[in-house]
Amino acid sequence: MKYQAVIGLEVHAQLLTQSKIFCGCSTRFGAAPNQNTCPVCAGFPGVLPVLNRQVVEFALKAGLATHCRIAESSRFARKNYFYPDLPKGYQISQYDAPICSNGYVEIETREGGVKRVRLTRIHMEEDAGKSIHEARGDASLVDLNRAGVPLLEIVSEPDLHSAAEATAYLKTLRAILQYLEICDGNMEEGSFRCDANVSVRPEGTSSLGTKTELKNLNSFKAVEKALEYEIRRHTEALAAGRSLVQETRLWDAEREATRSMREKELAHDYRYFPDPDLLPVQVDTAWIEKVRSTLPELPGARKQRFIAQYRLPAYDAELLTQRKDVADYFEAASKLGVDPKSISNWIVGDLFRVIKERRLDDRLYITDWPLAPERLAELVQLIGEGKISGKIAKTIFEEMLVSGRPARVIVAQRGLEQISDPASIEKAIDEVLAAHPEQIAQYRAGNEKIIAFLVGRIMKAARGKLHPQKTNELLRQKLDERKR
């Protein structure tokens, strides 16, 4: 029998606000423990939350970009449970009246088609603090810097049927949030977190199998491997007629396996109820339209435009539009009138390599580009004009990274300009030929391969600056003349 996986994803995206969701504490990452705290986010007696407008605005952006219905009035609820890093004994979240619902995200399937993944809801909530368990034998340590950092919880419908689809969805969603500049999407640092609900059923049926919830998925690779593992585990169990337990399982990246979280001895009952400290969040049409008007072109649309406008292959367009900063860079370079495909080649090749080496893509925006787009455009232009060879261009590129000087300056200073006029090339050829009578004789004897050797000598003598094609042609001409 064939089986089908059914996957739904819950994403928690940390929002890039300056201050926390309900108080004026900083959200800055990496502060000393409990430095970004105050009586409000530390859950002291008598304090009250006041909602950050930017959080609502970011939720609206996310909702509009994913075709959600925006609620005119939404409200916060309390999710009650005890945990040392949950200062109030409840998390302020949205429950029965989320700000966004019924949206969708379109992803590309492996077959090249488009699939629509429905979103159940997007809601605002506060993050909890962090506990360090390993530090001491008999104690845990609690840091509340993260308590109260704003989150969007984005819940998909169980529309995904493979690990690959799930990853594609996550990548698309992350790219959207990054384009909106509301989340940096860093999975390792936990600013883009994902839990997955998985079940497996016989293909063609609509029944729902036993569901497991997967946690600790802190990279795309972890998501893909954990889902593959879990789907296999479910499928094997079903095929063998074994029953599964509905449970929460953790992905163990070292062992490459999921393991059951020891079920907490205390059953959960979150006792949600509307938070009396926060009045309903009201969003009018004017606000929605204002936010809509600020939405940037989103990755899917931009990719299609790149294909059409710059005549790029789909593969290039995909790579260039995954990040907004890269796509912006590409357009900034291309508008200077150089060949877009060449620009794309340089970005996807050499520039991406440097970005990876320098870990510049850890952050939402690359602010310190190794090379300004105008500089890259100039380099490509020099090649197009025949001023330098592609090989020389690589050298110049590396030097630009170090010195930051424009390509034309480097070319001029180091005399790297390509020599194209026949007289100069002929002069260089003649000098080499004069020194290599034996090789000329071999050529005359029919050894065509010797040409490559001679070109190498000529190029070396001219420090690589001769126009390669012209040099080849002229050398052949001269040798053939002598043959006659």
Binding site: T17, Q18, S19, C23, G24, C25, S26, A31, A32, P33, N34, Q35, N36, T37, C38, P39, A42, V50, L51, N52, R53, Q54, V55, V56, S73, R75, N80, F82, Y83, P84, S131, I132, H133, R136, G137, D138, A139, S140, L141, V142, D143, L144, M261, R262, L266, A267, D269, R271, P274, P276, L278, L279, P280, V281, Q282
Partner: protein, 95 residues
Amino acid sequence: MPITRDDLERVLLLARLSLPADEEARLVQELGEVLAYVEKLDRLATDDVPPMTHVVDIGASLRDDVVSNRPDTDALMANAPAREDGFFRVPKIIE
């Protein structure tokens, strides 16, 4: 709906409370009386009545996204039963 001893145990667990055994029995009875009293609400037809979650009819007033708190970790932690290196020290959390 009379409250049972099991209900009480479940609620005590949720609320992180405990009671001496003799008080539990008394509380089951007391809560039973209170719940019997509040059952008078069932006499009211409320299907078409919206719940009142807030007294105030206006929407939330929102704050600007500005960092306004100066860090004052010492003052914040001065009341902590146990602290260590700027952290709140708590009994070991077992995941």
